[in-house]
Symmetry: C2
Subunit: 147 residues, 2 copies
């Protein structure tokens, strides 16, 4: 299978990965959530090559995850902002952070901590079922194939 055939698959994992499954894409989105909006800043922070960054931003815009907005004229310069669709990816990023914090120990110390904007306290992300309020693990949940 080729990579671009993924988006047409019926599996939601495949469809999701067709957008964010790339090596750099979630790193770009991490920076977006941190408020980084400009090409130069992203390139400097990520260490990604300019060519690849330009390509990823184009794709993310095409997929509706980012939107490009002119922040000055003459010369026209654009910055990249998360759309609602992009902001909806936050739980994916947080789930990944939670896993990495628990299972992929850093060399030195962890750079960021997620805190409540309101109380300033550290948060502990856990995925729950909105209906029952109970945590979701692979033991409680099973996937059924739709007929």
């Amino acid at each position: 299978m080729k990579w671009d055939e993924l988006k047409d698959q019926s599996c939601p994992v495949a469809r999701g990965l067709s957008v964010i499954g790339d090596r750099w894409t979630l790193m770009v989105l991490r920076d977006c959530f941190l408020g980084i909006r400009r090409f130069e800043a992203m390139q400097a922070r990520l260490g990604i090559t300019r060519h690849v960054l330009a390509d990823r931003l184009r794709k993310l815009e095409a997929d509706g995850v980012l939107r490009r907005e002119a922040y000055q004229e003459r010369p026209t310069r654009y910055e990249y902002r998360l759309t609602e669709k992009g902001k909806a990816l936050y739980p994916v990023l947080v789930a990944l952070i939670g896993w990495a914090e628990d299972h992929v120990p850093p060399e030195g110390e962890t750079a960021i901590t997620l805190v409540s904007r309101e109380t300033g306290e550290r948060i502990e992300p856990v995925l729950t079922d909105a209906r029952t309020g109970r945590p979701i693990t692979h033991r409680d949940v099973t996937a059924v194939r739709n007929a």
Copy 2:
């Protein structure tokens, strides 16, 4: 930056992606969660080339996400199973599924639905803070850099 330098970074997103940031890795893990354990079966389901699949399985084993277990001798054949570290990735996969279901519409119909193993009812994954029980969105949470 090269890809394999990522695992040494202080950012948990980078560390997480150093393990599962690859194009195919989460697809492989999806199959693992569905109970697929053998090379041939994965290769047939994923359409990934055998070479890349062998490589990914090796890396996932080296990272402690999968463990290889002999299921027969003469000739020795191995199957791949999720470790606890691997099982802990379930929320990441579910968060991705949730996002894709809401924001990346399929061509036809969605192949799988997550249901409670107990009640059989459809679940609605939502990321919450274990302390307060409240949903986590980018609006409620902010990242602070550790000094």
